[in-house]
Amino acid sequence: MENVISVNGLVKSFGRTRALDGLDLEVRRGEVHGFLGPNGAGKSTAIRVLLGLLKADSGTATLFGGDPWRDAVSLHRRLAYVPGDVTLWPNLTGGEVIELLGRLRGGLDTKRRDELIARFELDPRKKGRTYSKGNRQKVALVAALASDAELLVLDEPTSGLDPLMESVFQACVNEESGAGRTVLLSSHILAEAEALCDRVSIIRAGRTVESGTLADLRHLTRTSIHAELAGSPNGIGALAGVHDLVVDGDRVRFQVDNAELDTVLRALTTVGVRGLTSQPPTLEELFLRHYQKEEVPA
């Protein structure tokens, strides 16, 4: 499959701070790719390098097979960008900004624009300085979603949206993805990434720590099990791969490494199972594990 974005060993420093420290990222054509990490992990810096706004110190980055720094102008005709911190011109209305950005990207679908304005409940007649953060973000989102771009680069696009608008946003991204567009979605809202993304890359301190489909990532981790047993759960704690066991009479609660899932379930059925719920790890758990793991010096 062709890569829309591929980044290898990207390094970018600001003075003494190393914002990107060997970042890798692959976004395939047609996928929604989650770019996850906490504040300050380097997500926005990486996106700005991909947009040719910042020049990388070393490493390679290609966008549609081109050089994002050298070919910025021609590449930008094929993408639309929503910055994390949307600032508008104080004396231009939202409607004017949407049209301006659409035109400068090379095209705006006016029918889709009107539909999006209605769906996001945006008043396009207000001046930039009078919009709230969420409404500024809506302006940028409408401009990006109504463009004909092949690639949408969205940098924490929902941080100011309320839950209703968040669901409108998710529906829109699904439509775009269905229409064959590629989306790079940077976020620290894991539920959003979980709902939207085909694949994710988790970054920390400017470096990619994990990348793959959610299923891939889950495979490497643990499932949490709640079970009500027919007898005493003796010996379960001693099985390989069982963690954080809590025993409450006949009930048990624990986490199990996915590799050992089969063995542990067999042990449970030997005792006799009356009730069982199993939950795949949430992205949140994946995320926390990565950060906790890295915080302890190896």
């Binding site: 706004l53 910025a72 960008y81 910055p83 004017e96 049209e99 950005l101 008043d123 300085r129 680069v153």
Partner: protein, 529 residues
């Protein structure tokens, strides 16, 4: 007013470099001018004859009258340009710590803490008061130390102190009325220009009690008459007016909502006109109000100066002593030509200010992260920067031509010289353009190579202004004077024009602009964090 003291300390911390720099440097200026005069003309008789030679209408129009022909009087007269800069600097300081803070959303953050709603205004005025004390105090001490009369030095210091307070109070009111810091700064600039113009026209006629000079805040303060039988009541009046304006600002501040001005925002169009849909269209939209403001300013200033010129040269013709004195100093050019040339030199600096302002707009857009969405669309960096720089280069050139036409027309009409005057005056305006462009090019160079220091463009402009106005008096050597591009311009109308310096200035401006733009293409775009 809870929290005023903490906000005051925060403001001092933020301004820890800029505030000492301008208060001390500008405060020291009158003293430097005084000691320079003292060493140039040690004999009071020499001072008096120098004063007589300087008492011509064109210089009176620019600097105001010489109230007394001695060391102090000449110092007060010659430093009056510094007074204008001091007013502007104090006003900008107040706006920076009030409306600009509010516009950036920082006041909101502080407002949620234990800080009273008027604390921001109160702390900004305290900073202005401190600046006023430093400037006024240094002026008085410096002038007295150079050997000028003690009471007069005190009065001169008081004049500077009150000018600071008055413009701080005006700025405080405007910061409440205008919703944007830019608008507030713009109106302060207009008020200052207006008071300068009123005083200029009032004084140019030779009547020391012209009502025009009295209603100008600057002219009013100069009528404290330091070193010439001082009058104290204007000082008291100025103090009362400043206090009243500050009180008005408090009332407005206490009543209005955060972020609100007196003018409520109206809804605008939901669709963009076609003319907006390009980088140049956007730059035009962002810069046009400012451009029109400048053009109106040039036209008014040109008309004023043009129609005052003939009256001024008549005054000289009727006074043989004055004509004789000027003949000794002058280059043989006619009086009217001298007046026009002096005026054009000031307008030229103004035009450079316009250029610097327009060029800084590019950096302002970038720092506010408003360049990012355009550069992330398919707009090349040169196209984006060029759309703003067009206003920085063509704007002042257009402005100078407007000034030339209106000055020529005003002069031609009052002196019965007709349309022929326009051509001569237009030439005088046009020769300013290369120096203006070089000043703008320095800003472009900073923008491309040292973007964080781009605002130093204002310091460069102030440096050129001071070199031109005070360089000769401070006995700076020729190489120092040559640092300012304005030194190399021919004195027109009436002077000789040689192409070489003009060509060099334009070539240098082109080279610096090219270097700046090359740097801009290669550097990172500001990313805010």
């Amino acid at each position: 007013m809870t929290g005023t003291w903490q906000l005051f300390r925060l403001a001092l911390r933020r301004d820890r470099v800029v505030l000492p720099l301008w208060t001390i440097l500008l405060g020291l200026f009158p003293g430097l001018v005084a000691s320079s005069f003292a060493s140039l003309y040690p004999d009071p008789a020499e001072l008096a004859s120098f004063a007589a030679s300087m008492s011509n209408p064109s210089l009176t129009a620019v600097y105001g009258p010489i109230w007394s022909p001695d060391l102090g009087g000449l110092t007060a007269w010659r430093s009056s340009i510094v007074l204008l800069i001091v007013c502007l600097a104090t006003a900008f300081t107040v706006i920076r710590h009030t409306r600009a803070e509010e516009e950036q959303g920082r006041r909101e953050l502080l407002g949620s803490t234990v800080v009273g709603r008027t604390a921001g205004l109160a702390s900004a005025l305290l900073v202005a008061l401190l600046a006023a004390v430093v400037v006024g105090g240094l002026t008085a001490l410096g002038t007295a130390a150079a050997g000028a009369d003690g009471t007069g030095s005190f009065a001169l210091g008081l004049q500077y102190f009150l000018a600071c307070l008055l413009f701080a109070a005006i700025a405080a009111v405007l910061a409440q009325v205008a919703q944007g810091a830019r608008t507030a700064r713009w109106i302060v600039g207009a008020v200052l220009t207006g008071s300068f113009l009123l005083r200029m026209v009032g004084d140019a006629g030779g009547d020391l009690n012209s009502p025009l000079s009295w209603i100008s805040p600057i002219g009013f303060l100069q009528r404290i008459r330091p070193f010439a039988d001082e009058r104290w009541w204007p000082a008291a009046v100025a103090l009362v007016v400043a206090a009243a304006l500050a009180a008005v600002a408090y009332r407005l501040n206490a009543r209005r909502d955060l972020d609100a001005g007196l003018i409520a925002p109206r809804p605008g169009p939901a669709r963009a006109p076609r003319s907006l849909l390009s980088p140049l269209g956007l730059a035009w939209r962002l810069q046009r109000t400012t451009l029109f403001g400048w053009l109106v300013g040039y036209a008014v200033l040109g008309l004023f100066l043009g129609s005052a010129t003939d009256a001024a040269s008549d005054a000289v013709r009727e006074s043989p002593d004055l004509a004789d004195a000027i003949g000794r100093v002058g280059t043989g050019a006619s009086i009217a030509d001298m007046v026009i040339a002096t005026g054009m030199a000031i307008i030229g600096i103004g035009a450079a200010g316009q250029g610097v302002q327009a060029a800084l707009r590019a950096r302002g857009e970038e720092s506010a992260l408003r360049a990012e969405p355009l550069l992330a669309a398919s707009v090349g960096r040169l196209r984006w920067a060029g759309s703003h720089l067009l206003f920085a280069f063509a704007g002042p050139a257009l402005g100078l031509l407007v000034a030339g036409v209106f000055l020529g027309a005003g002069y031609g009409a009052s002196a019965d010289e007709g349309a022929g005057a326009i051509g001569r005056v237009l030439g005088a305006a046009a020769v300013q353009i290369p120096a203006v462009w070089l000043t703008v090019a320095i800003v472009v160079l900073l923008f491309g190579l040292l973007p964080r220091l781009t605002t130093l463009g204002w310091a460069v402009l102030a440096f050129f202004l001071l070199l031109g106005q005070l360089g000769a008096i401070l006995q700076l050597s020729q190489w120092a004077l040559d640092l300012s591009p304005f030194t190399h311009l021919p004195s027109l109308p009436g002077g000789e024009v040689t192409a070489t310096p003009l060509v060099w200035l334009v070539a240098l401006a082109a080279a610096l602009t090219a270097a700046g733009l090359t740097g801009f293409r290669r550097r990172d775009i500001a990313s805010g964090g």
